[in-house]
């Protein structure tokens, strides 16, 4: 496949910069700065240093032996992004963009968050680099993820509850963009996924590809071969692109993105953007979007606040339409079952997002012979979800929309 994106931020036909004119110069400035610093050895060294000494990379590629035995098929290897500082892969990107923001001379950073993981990772890097930080979070999500709200506040960030629209991640993104339009002179927007206008989908991929770079090197070293499957959950798609990207050129490796089917793809409550969405322009780029016939974006639903999003990064749309990756839906119920299975077989409580990937592995592994291997991105740990899970499993439906 060709190197993507092109100079206009296009992954095939997807991507681009569909934003108000007020932001265009800021995007070009960001692209220039990123081009410059990503080739600057000192910048790279600082990012590498923080990833290693501060976040604890490389994360391990762990053979989940009991889970493998339980499912009775392919060998399952977990890429342990949950072991990062702050408990998820999100820090890979906020370290990169935080250092970039500082080099660009910005004093303030803003970020959107759904589950709160990216908000926490942004607040963390802001504290570390001595910058002001505001995190926009849908009011609905601030209720679902109270612990993360408090974590961000402890880290010195201001959490701004978003009351517009669906009051979840989608509208938190809108509100962050609106705030950025008003404060573009001195504020850096750390976008948390491979979504939005160019250069974000490219830049966030580049900062997240360390997941796949490490995993590829680790499996070649430890197993002496490439995996047969790489499986990752997709909301906006940053951990999935991060682990997929270094394997895209390895044709034998099948790439599987797992999206949230919520209460089921035959209901109206899901976040199955790839399965049920159509091509459309949403929040700055052309990709797949959950929308009605008139092009109005539809609210998504997932038990996982991080997957509760009606869009997906443009590079995923490109991988899907070119046939290089496939995208499958997993329901809330399947994810909950997977979460419990991983907790009991491996002593690892995964984030609800990552539990979707595990749920797909539960379907896939038993169909494969033991000599095949599956690498799964365990994108985050489940501590943040424990309270919500407790109410789900206690039979009391946690309020969602």
């Amino acid at each position: 496949m060709n190197k993507v994106p092109d100079g206009n931020g296009r992954f095939g036909k997807f991507g681009g910069r569909y934003v108000p004119e007020t932001l265009m110069n800021a995007l070009f400035e960001l692209e220039e700065a990123y081009k410059h610093y990503s080739n600057d050895p000192k910048f790279q060294e600082e990012v590498r240093y923080l990833l290693s000494k501060y976040s604890g990379r490389p994360t391990s590629l762990y053979y989940a032996e009991r889970l493998t035995q339980h499912l009775g098929g392919a060998k399952i290897l977990l890429k342990r992004e949950d072991l990062n500082h702050t408990g998820a892969h999100k820090i890979n990107n906020t370290i990169g963009q935080g250092v970039l923001a500082k080099r660009m001379g910005k004093k303030k950073i803003i970020a959107e968050t759904g589950a709160g993981q990216h908000g926490v990772a942004s607040a963390t890097i802001a504290a570390l680099l001595g910058m002001e930080c505001k995190v926009f979070m849908g009011e609905e999500d601030t209720k679902r993820q109270q612990l993360n709200v408090f974590r961000m506040q402890l880290l010195g960030a201001e959490v701004v509850p978003v009351l517009s629209g669906t009051r979840t991640l989608k509208d938190a993104c809108n509100e962050t963009l609106r705030y950025w339009v008003s404060h573009v002179d001195d504020t850096y927007y750390i976008l948390g996924s491979v979504t939005g206008p160019h250069p974000y989908p490219m830049m966030v991929r580049d900062f997240q590809r360390i997941i796949g770079d490490e995993a590829r090197e680790q499996i070649l070293r430890e197993e002496g071969r490439l995996p047969d499957y790489v499986v990752a959950a997709v909301g906006g798609g940053s951990n999935a692109i991060g682990i997929f990207y270094p394997f895209v050129g390895d044709e034998s490796v099948k790439l599987v993105g797992v999206e949230a089917a919520g209460r089921g793809i035959d209901t109206l409550e899901h976040a199955a953007t790839m399965t049920l969405g159509r091509h459309g322009v949403f929040q700055g780029s052309l990709s797949y979007v959950l929308q009605d016939d008139a092009g109005q974006v539809q609210p998504a639903h997932s038990i996982s606040a991080g997957l509760d999003y009606p869009g997906i990064g443009p590079e995923h749309a490109y991988l899907k339409d070119s046939g290089r990756a496939e995208y499958v839906p997993v329901t809330d119920a399947e994810a909950l079952e997977a979460l419990q299975l991983l907790s009991r077989t491996e002593g690892i409580i995964p984030a609800l997002e990552s539990a979707h990937a595990i749920a797909q592995v539960m379907k896939l592994a038993p169909t494969l012979p033991p000599d095949q291997t599956i690498v799964v991105s365990l994108s985050g740990r489940g501590d943040k979800d424990v309270e919500a899970i407790m109410s789900y499993l206690g039979g009391q439906k946690h309020e969602s929309h």
Binding site: Y18, P20, T22, Q283, Q296, Q298
Partner: protein, 268 residues
């Protein structure tokens, strides 16, 4: 000749500035929008921007966001918004219609089908706030073929882009008065006059200024530097405040007149 050009031409000979109200189409319903348009013209509007309600209005502040949410409960489609213009024209409205829509509803309708529709229904201009010049090639060509002016936005942050945007502009250049989303505000971007002057120098076309203009004083101030003044959120807010009147049959006309009086107060 496009109707927008005719209006600016006439106003220039009279030494006047165009008053361009923006309304959210379908707020609170389509029939009321037609009546509001008739009233806007009666109250001195020179052209009107018809906002197509959208689920994710990135460039808009809370007033227009809420109006969009109200309208979408209708529900209101792109096609229905365009039909409103045709109905207003059939009721005798002469001023040109400018459709203001985010890109996705247009894309989903189908570009070709869309331009056929708005041409047939008498739309003169089109503003797509999330389609910068880098992305608008196909739309620009089709608009030109259909005789529709694609009106671009320039912002105080556009800087060197002003030249390129102005060179491609048709109808007029829409100058964003301040950084930020639409909505009423007391302060404009510092250096607004210099910014408008830089746009003026970049184009022979009329320039209009919008975002945040809500009072007669502000209209007067901007009229010194621009050929047109766009008032959006302040009028949408008037509609919102008139809702209790508009929703009852016996006070409906009072509601419409109340909006009209506000618009008349902006006319200079």
């Amino acid at each position: 000749m496009n109707r927008i050009d005719e209006v600016f031409h006439k106003l220039k000979s009279e030494g006047r500035t165009a008053l361009i109200p923006f309304i959210t189409t379908g707020d609170p319903d389509l029939k009321t929008t037609v009546d509001i348009i008739i009233e806007l013209e009666r109250s001195g509007a020179d052209m009107v921007e018809l906002g197509v309600p959208y689920s994710d209005p990135l460039a808009d502040g809370p007033v227009i966001q809420q109006a969009s949410e109200r309208a979408l409960r209708g529900p209101v489609t792109l096609e229905a918004c365009v039909e409103v213009a045709a109905q207003a024209a059939a009721a005798g409205v002469k001023m040109p219609f400018i459709l203001f829509s985010y890109f996705n509803p247009i894309l989903q309708y189908g570009l070709e089908r869309f331009f056929t529709l708005i041409h047939e229904k008498g739309i003169s201009g089109l503003i797509i706030p999330d389609l910068p010049i880098e992305e608008d090639g196909e739309v620009r060509e089709m608009a030109a073929e259909a005789g529709i002016h694609l009106i671009p936005l320039v912002a105080p942050t556009s800087k060197a882009r002003v030249q390129r945007i102005a060179a491609l502009a048709q109808g007029f250049v829409y100058c964003v008065s301040s950084l930020g989303v639409t909505g009423m505000r007391s302060e404009f971007h510092s250096g607004i006059e210099e910014f408008l002057q830089s746009v003026r120098e970049a184009t022979p076309l009329p320039i209009a200024v919008g975002f945040g203009i809500s009072s007669r004083d502000q209209v007067e101030r901007m009229s010194k530097h621009a050929d047109g003044v766009i008032v959006g959120s302040a009028i949408v807010r008037q509609v919102e405040e008139a809702l209790p009147l508009l929703l009852k049959e016996d006070t409906y006309r009072d509601g419409i007149s109340q909006i009209g009086r506000f618009v008349a107060s902006l006319r200079i």
